[in-house]
């Protein structure tokens, strides 16, 4: 799976970092999403899907 984020849409709610801290973080200064692993291992599929689902602004996109 490949993870893409749209920082223009991100509203810094931090749901992604809460759901999948291995894959998402928030920038220290602007609080917007930062991807730590663009191609996370399969073992993280569930939490990454959940993070995309929980993101309130539709900023996280996944390609299978």
């Amino acid at each position: 799976m490949r993870v893409d984020v749209d920082r223009d849409r991100c509203c810094g709610a931090g749901m992604c970092a809460l759901e999948a801290p291995e894959v998402f973080d928030q920038d220290e200064t602007d609080g917007l999403v930062v991807v730590l692993l663009t191609e996370p291992p399969d073992t993280l599929d569930d939490v990454v899907r959940s993070a995309a689902e929980q993101c309130p602004s539709g900023a996280v996109r996944l390609r299978e």
């Binding site: 509203c11 810094g12 709610a13 931090g14 749901m15 970092a17 809460l18 973080d25 928030q26 920038d27 220290e28 200064t29 602007d30 609080g31 917007l32 959940s50 689902e53 929980q54 309130p56 602004s57 539709g58």
Partner: protein, 395 residues
């Protein structure tokens, strides 16, 4: 496009049990998840109650948050403009401008760094409760001061000023305060915050107040209002979750036992309490600026749309057996912090306050219980944020 059905009815507000939505609200969810609604000023608009539909509407930028367009579903008020800086009542690009000032200050990491202070604040309040001895009213002794002191900590209100801040914010948020007194406290608080912002303009500091005051492009009034919004949005909500959540725990002994025995995590319990209680029990509220179709229904310019997160959080199509408080299920996906670009910016802080707040209270008093019969704890359902007025507890 479907026709507007005739005979819009008002928002059902009559509950038959303290913690469940009005039965008629859920009936309307079953009948029609996107339904006509009559507002107290006589106008007609919409009521959205289905989980999928509320979530979709919250993510749909065609719905506006501009306060001058919003009617209250429960009070016959003229819509009025929001004060500059109250960005919860703005749309992009204005909303984005203000929200981006705060996102960097509210990251999950920064909020986690506050956890230790939150614990100290909770412990201090619990020490005071122990010194007083049972019974103690949990609302003024614990639920109100905890979030108020946490906001002081967050903003960087100087220690010597905290008493003024805490006194006024508690008076404002306490639902037992007479209205004139609440207005006086409100004004005092605004002047007090404006004074702090002006001082930070003159002497920069690296706390949140200082960080916001440093934005020269904002007026002192705007910065003051942003700070005031944080207080208004973060104090009563969190306080009521703490008191009402404790009520829910003490009146659901099986779930309390499960939590105490480690059969579930505090994280799951808090998410499920958020879902089950939905303290913002009337909203969020949006307006239609230009005509469009939503889920096959004709949204007309000028109409107000009430999105019932409370009904959505009890939608059996999304949560199985939704009226049961169930910590094992956890409340993941609950809509009590909203959804979309306005989703609560303070949610990671509120989660920490609730996790630590409940855990510290339960750890301190292994035999915590209500000091009055359950029926004697009165709910204030006339308030925009649902909660208990007072709740004597003993241990």
């Amino acid at each position: 496009m479907t026709e507007v059905p005739p005979g819009a009815r008002p928002l059902p507000t009559t509950r038959t049990t303290p913690l469940d939505p009005p039965p008629e609200l859920l009936e309307r969810q079953r009948e029609c998840p996107v339904d006509r609604l009559r507002y107290p000023d006589g106008s007609e608009g919409w009521l959205i109650t289905g989980y999928d539909q509320v979530r979709a509407a919250l993510a749909d930028l065609r719905f506006s948050s501009r306060k001058e367009l919003l009617r209250s579903p429960v009070q016959p008020q003229e819509p009025s403009a929001a004060k500059p800086g109250f960005f919860v009542y703005t749309d992009p690009p204005e909303h984005t401008k203000y929200r981006r000032l705060l996102t960097g200050l509210f990251t999950l990491r920064r909020m986690n760094q506050l956890a230790e202070r939150v614990k100290e604040i909770a412990d201090d309040a619990l020490d005071a409760m122990e010194r007083t001895g049972p019974p103690v009213d949990l609302v003024p002794a614990y639920a109100l001061p905890l979030p108020s002191l946490v906001i002081c900590e967050l903003l960087g209100v100087p220690y010597e000023d905290r008493e003024v801040f805490q006194h006024n914010s508690t008076v404002i948020q306490d639902i037992n305060t007479p209205i004139e007194q609440a207005y006086a406290a409100l004004e005092e608080m605004q002047n007090f915050l404006a004074g702090l912002v002006e001082r930070r303009r003159a002497e920069p500091s690296d706390d949140m107040l200082g960080g916001l005051a440093a934005h020269e492009e904002l007026t002192v009034e705007e910065v003051t209002n942003v700070c005031f919004l944080l207080l208004a949005a973060g104090h009563e909500t969190t306080a009521n979750m703490l008191s009402l959540g404790t009520y829910a725990l003490l009146t659901n002994p099986d779930q309390l036992a499960l939590l105490r025995s480690g059969g579930t995590t505090i994280e799951a319990a808090v998410e499920e309490l958020m879902r089950y209680l939905t303290v913002n029990h009337y909203g969020p509220i949006r307006a239609v600026v230009d005509d469009f179709e939503f889920e096959g229904c004709p949204m007309k310019a000028g109409e107000t749309v009430t999105l019932s997160a409370f009904a959505a959080n009890r939608d059996p199509k999304h949560f199985a057996d939704p009226d049961r408080l169930d910590f094992v299920r956890g409340g993941r996906g609950q809509l009590s912090f909203g959804h979309g670009i306005h989703q609560c910016i303070g949610q990671q802080l509120a989660r920490i306050e609730m996790r630590i707040g409940f855990q510290a209270l339960l750890d301190r008093f292994p035999n915590l219980h209500l000091a009055v019969p359950q029926e004697d704890v009165s709910m204030r359902d006339s308030m925009l944020i649902y909660g208990v007025a007072s709740m004597p507890v003993a241990w």
